[in-house]
Assembly symmetry: C2
Homo-oligomer: 502 residues x 2
Amino acid sequence: MLRNLRRIGSIVPTNVNYCTHARNFLPQLTKDRYPDVKRGDYAVLNENHLFHFVDLLGVEKVLNDPSDCEKYNIDWIKNVRGFSQCVLKPESTEEVSQILAYCNEHRIAVCPQGGNTGLVGGSVPVFDEVVLSTELMNDVISIDDTSGVIVCQAGCILEALDQFLSEKGLMMPLDLGAKGSCHIGGNVATNAGGLRLLRYGNLHGNVLGLEAVKADGEIVDCLSTLKKDNTGYHLKHLFIGSEGTLGIITTVAIQCPPRPNAINLAFLGLESFEDILTTFRKAKQELGEILSSCEMIDAKSLDVSTGHCQLKSPIKEFPFYMLIETSGSNNKHDEEKLNHFLENVMNDGTVLDGTVTNEPGKMRAIWELRERITEGLLHDGYVFKYDISLPIKDFYSLVPAMLEKVGKDAVRVSGYGHIGDGNIHLNISVPEFRPDILRKIEPYVYEFTSNLKGSVSAEHGIGFRKQKYIHYSKSESAIKLMKDIKKMMDPNGILNPYKVLP
Amino acid sequence: MLRNLRRIGSIVPTNVNYCTHARNFLPQLTKDRYPDVKRGDYAVLNENHLFHFVDLLGVEKVLNDPSDCEKYNIDWIKNVRGFSQCVLKPESTEEVSQILAYCNEHRIAVCPQGGNTGLVGGSVPVFDEVVLSTELMNDVISIDDTSGVIVCQAGCILEALDQFLSEKGLMMPLDLGAKGSCHIGGNVATNAGGLRLLRYGNLHGNVLGLEAVKADGEIVDCLSTLKKDNTGYHLKHLFIGSEGTLGIITTVAIQCPPRPNAINLAFLGLESFEDILTTFRKAKQELGEILSSCEMIDAKSLDVSTGHCQLKSPIKEFPFYMLIETSGSNNKHDEEKLNHFLENVMNDGTVLDGTVTNEPGKMRAIWELRERITEGLLHDGYVFKYDISLPIKDFYSLVPAMLEKVGKDAVRVSGYGHIGDGNIHLNISVPEFRPDILRKIEPYVYEFTSNLKGSVSAEHGIGFRKQKYIHYSKSESAIKLMKDIKKMMDPNGILNPYKVLP
């Protein structure tokens, strides 16, 4: 393997801009905000432990100054805050293995952390867990431009990988707003979805292999780079989406599609959610294999981008908006299909206004309107965030239902998301966190979802904040089997405790 | 759920034609051919057990006449043969659950069986295991034409499902030669690949949910129909590809793509494997998103179809052939792309001759040339079959290497397969099984594969015949974790014993 082929972690701009507003305050400690969660029976970190870690990694890869540790203790949406006194930054799988073997022996709880861009409090400590950060594990190990397979360490930043692949005519099969900060290991550990799942499928399909370290330090080598390998149980899937509770992913092999020759992006204004559904159905029919993204945004969500983030919309105001992206191998063909589709939906009044472009700058500006909503919402104050899968016909019903429920307590109740995948991001922003508002929202929002057989976490995962609600989407038998697996793979429960399983 | 929406299992022709030649003999009993495999410490079936099964299912769903049981004891390529005295045909998940709970309590070994089209001896008993056949579990439970999700029982025949979906403008995301006989439950249990994996991805990406019964009879309900659901561990993947050793899949939910408006199929003749590689690379580049299949056949493999099966090739003889299929939403665009591509590869001499068609009858005739090779090979006598993934540049190197190894002992050493997925089917046919020839082939074929970091079973699975060789493709740490999982989920080892794990 070509280690250190190219170190790319540091060359990339951060796309997730921390709001200056949000930066200036420290959220309440998680242990105080959620007093019913009790610290597990883990060791309290002492000097001997620290000396051991320094011996193992060297002093520069062990942080234990509280101010150095602070940013690893707080999630970027300022929702949860732990008080870890120790951050470890291994550079290799072997170092991760040695850390975990030691922690398991000494019952030291460990919180794995990638880019810390998660939205459910999964990537920061709840109490004083040791943080194991993958930020120094950012080597691209190999890339095969015939098969399109990239092998890299878990700490590589998604956007950096995509830029690197672009030189080879390839692209990452996933894209999300946090791409400038999130780590590929975190993406895989949380089964991140994003903007192009509609076209390229999820990570269970795209991850060809991985290497992970179990709680006891054992390295599980499933690092296949083959598209097809039916030799025994497909273990990698245990780690994909288990949010660091079954093992820490250290290396991944990912199948990357060819970068399309032609990309076109339409931004549309519509009157109603019904019109969005009609437009989506027609897009599937007429754009077929070139449809690469289909997103919706309601007026209140777009207000965040145009207001708080001061971005400019290319069309006037409408109750709803859609982004429809095509990617293909022949621009003439793609434009013909797209123009034909747009003429149809505009002539019959389904779409009221729209703009279409293939200029990179203009496409980026349109995507920013969608991608910066999460960040912009933080300007409202505290945001209750929900990431829900619903049957497509019921997709938007959640937003008016929640508006009725929280009424004037909220600054904003808004929804946007991946209409093509049935996945809506519901945001309820309030001036500041209040338990009485939380009680108005939860568990109602989960009951509503469960009644429609939806998922209470479509792509963000369960993390810390949703584990009480997993039963709204999972059967008792499934939860029991999950617990059996956790017990088998991490009998001391040191890996990312208080997360995922109730 | 709409149970019994439509029973379709019986309306469909069988596509896998059992060779009359092969039909007329009984293969040696597995216990005699593989004397080093010892029967496990399971109960021997007695009258009480049978009475219990009859009580549970009714007499018509319990076979125990040896002649009735015979076809369930022999795999269709006549490679292995068990001597089970009992075949159970449950109709519901609940019946499967009751059977397994009883068998687990009484330590009765169980061999789950779908369409019995497997190629590695995974679907028939090794000794006297009770066969649990899914052939009566063939209800389509629901279909949603907006989301494209079909929910059905495990015993539905793949081709029947595809025909059913065609009425809704949808298609199954997988297609394989055995489609007329194989059950979708078996497809999922073996993570079947097939002819269009290149375009639609594997079953880990396409199965949205499933219901399975564990060895102790517990029903694990993971039957989500959502595209995105990140709530806890992604358990369904444990069952996908575990070949019935961790649980019996009873119901599946599958994401089905829209049926393409336009399909075109080219059949090409080429001089060398190098030219196949060049043609594949250009096809990926120029056909991009409409490329739906890319297969290769060597001359000796095509001889099987034109000789034993008496099919007619549309072009004259060449050392190599390719099938290139496109599927898209706009026939004019697709034909333009395909014609442009074909002109290029023929003008520069990469492709020597070819024919292209979009007439359904002619396309079927071309596909038959590819799909009937497996069946036709049985006319040669006994076939040593290998299903290997290799890095694409080394894809064909296996065939000349094996020819040199077995020399004149073989009737035929031939290779064909999914060049687009790096998966070759190597077949070495001999007049009849001989252990000395086997020793010339194995373990050499696996060592060869392992040295190139390939997979010793790309899509057929491990079954009975490959379990000794799993370590050529899987690390010790992975095999250890597999064993831990097996022990946790099936502590008595009653589910499909002697299969998958060494």
